[in-house]
C-alpha cells in the first residue's frame, strides 16, 4: 500500500487559513449546546462543550454511543446550527462549511453518490476545487491505491462491500488534501489489517500536509495510537469529561508503539474514563478527574 509519497508535488494550499500565527487555536468551540426539538421529544444532545484545537493538531474524540460526537462534528463543520454557543474557525464564526475542509461521514454508504463510480466519487470534489486534470488523475489514483481499491475504481457504490464503500469515502477526503479533516468513525467497517494501514495513512497525511484532524472513534487503541490528544465526552447531555494528552513519540508504528507500556497505560486510563462516562459520571464544576 503506497503512502502518497509525492508530498512535495502537492498544489499550493488554499490561503484562507494561513493568515494567522501558527500557535493560535485554529478551532475554538465555546459553550456549544444543541437541543433537537422534535414533535414529541426534545433531546439535549450537547449540553455545554468548550475546547480548542490548534493548527495542525490531531485530536481524537471518544465517548459513549449516542453521546453527541456526530452532532458535535456536524456543528464544527457548519452543517448544523448549534442551539447556543459558537464555533470559531480561524477567528471567523462557522455558519456554513468552510473552505478546505473534508468530512468522512459515519453514514459512509449514504454519503457516496450512487450515480457515480468510485473513481468519479473521489474525483468530483477535486473538480470542484479546480484541480487541473493531470494532477487530479494523479491524486485520485493515489488515493484509491492507498485505500486498496485500484481494482474497483469503476464500480458503483452499490456494487461495493460495506468496507469498500467506507474506503471510497476515505479516499475522497484524502485526495481532497484538506486543511481540516473531520472523520466520524471512518474505519468502522474495515478489517483489522486494513484498519492499521488506514491509520498509518491518516498519520502520514497529517504529517505531510499539516492537516488539522478531528477523529471520532470507538476504538480506544485507535484513539491512543492516532492522536496527540484524546478528548473524552460524557454521556448525553454531553460535556467534556476529560482531555488526555497522548505523550507517545511522534514516530509511531503499529507494532512497536502498541507494545509500549505507556500505550497500555493510556489505553487503560481512557478505557476507564469511557466506562465512567457510560455509567453516567459527570464532572462536577471545578472537578477535573473522576476518582
Amino acid at each position: 500500500m503506497s503512502t502518497l509519497e509525492t508530498a512535495s508535488e502537492s498544489p499550493p494550499q488554499d490561503t484562507t487559513m494561513d493568515n494567522d500565527a501558527p500557535t493560535t487555536p485554529l478551532l475554538d468551540v465555546t459553550g456549544l449546546r444543541k437541543v433537537f426539538a422534535g414533535a414529541n421529544r426534545a433531546v439535549e444532545a450537547l449540553q455545554d462543550l468548550t475546547f480548542t484545537v490548534s493548527r495542525g493538531e490531531l485530536m481524537c474524540l471518544v465517548g459513549p454511543s449516542g453521546c453527541g460526537k456526530t452532532t458535535l462534528l456536524r456543528c464544527v463543520s457548519g452543517l448544523l446550527a448549534p442551539t447556543t454557543g459558537a464555533v470559531t474557525l480561524n477567528g471567523a464564526p462557522v455558519t456554513e462549511p468552510p473552505r478546505g475542509m473534508a468530512v468522512v461521514f459515519q453514514e459512509y454508504g449514504r454519503s457516496l453518490f450512487p450515480w457515480l463510480t468510485a473513481w468519479q466519487n473521489v474525483e468530483l470534489p477535486l473538480k470542484e476545487k479546480k484541480v487541473p486534470r493531470g494532477e487530479r488523475k494523479r491524486l485520485v489514483t493515489e488515493a484509491l491505491d492507498a485505500v486498496g481499491l485500484t481494482e474497483s475504481r469503476d464500480a458503483h457504490p452499490w456494487e461495493l462491500s460495506g468496507g469498500m464503500q467506507q474506503r471510497v469515502a476515505i479516499a475522497r477526503a484524502v485526495a481532497y488534501e484538506p486543511q481540516v479533516l473531520l472523520m466520524d468513525e471512518p474505519f468502522a467497517a474495515v478489517d483489522a489489517q486494513t484498519r492499521g494501514e488506514l491509520e498509518d495513512l491518516v498519520r502520514a497525511l497529517w504529517q505531510r500536509l499539516g492537516v488539522t484532524v478531528l477523529f471520532v472513534t470507538h476504538d480506544i487503541d485507535e484513539a491512543v495510537y492516532l492522536g496527540q490528544r484524546v478528548v473524552v465526552l460524557s454521556a448525553s447531555p454531553t460535556v467534556v469529561l476529560d482531555d488526555v494528552p497522548i505523550t507517545l513519540p511522534d514516530e509511531r508504528d503499529q507494532i512497536t508503539t502498541r507494545s509500549l507500556p505507556q500505550f497500555a497505560e493510556l489505553r487503560a486510563a481512557i478505557y476507564e474514563l469511557v466506562q465512567h462516562a457510560k455509567n453516567g459520571y459527570r464532572p462536577q464544576p471545578d472537578t477535573e478527574h473522576p476518582s
Binding site: 452543517l79 461521514f105 470534489p125
Partner: protein
Amino acid sequence: MTAIAWGRKLAIAAGLPAVLVGIWWLATAGSTSVYWPPLSTVLETFAPTWLEGRLTSDVLPSLLRLAAGYALALALGTALGTVIGSWPTVRALTEPALEFFRAIPPPVLVPIFILFAGIGDGMKILVIMVGSVWPILLNTVEGVRSIDEVLRDTARCYRFRRRTRLVQLVLRGASPRIVTGARQALSIAIILMVISEMFAATNGLGFSIVQFQRSFAIPQMWSGIILLGLIGVALSLIFRACEARVLAWYQGQRAAQR
C-alpha cells in the same frame, strides 16, 4: 442476450395484448352495432385511412407539435420544479397559484391561449406544454425535496459550486422521480395533442379522429384510436431506452442483490 431470451421477452410483452385483441375480435365479430364495428372492419379501414397520405399530412404534423410541446414541458417542469423544490419559501408562495391553474381544464384555457398565441401551431404546442408540464413539475418538486440529507451534507462540505450541486446532486438525485413524471407526461401530451387539435385545427391526427367521429365514420375513428395507442407504445419504447441510459445507476442499485 440470446435469441431465446429475446423470444421470451417478446412473448411476455406480446402475450396479453394478443389475448385482448383476440377477445376484442371475437366479441365484435358479428357485431351490427354502428359503434362497435367488427375488429376486422376496423383493421381493413386502417391501411386506406392512414397509410395513403395521412401519415405525412396529419400524423407527422401532430407528432412534431407533440415533440415541441413535450420538450418545452420537460424543460419548464424540471427548471421550475428544481427551484420550487429547493426553497420551501418559493414553494409556499407559488404552490396555490400553480394548483389554481392546474385545476383548470385545458379546453377552457384554449380561448385565452388563442388570445395570446393565435390559432396556429404555437397555440397547440402551448396547450400540450401547459397540460403535460404538471406531472413533471410535481415529481421534480417531490424528488428534489426528498434527496438524501447525507448526500446534501456531502455536497455542502466539499463546497460544490451551484452548477455542480444542481447537476450532480439535485438533478441526478431527483432524476428517478423526474423520469416518473416525464413518463406520465408523455401520455398526457399525446392526449393533449388530440385535444389541441379540436380547436382551430386544419390537420393532425386528433383532428382526423374528431372529424371521423363527427361524420360518424366509426371504423375509421376506431382505427385512429388504435393508431394513437400504437404511437403511445412506440413512444414509450423510445422513452424506456432513454430511461435505461439516464437511470442505469438507479436501476442497478434497486436490483442490486444486497
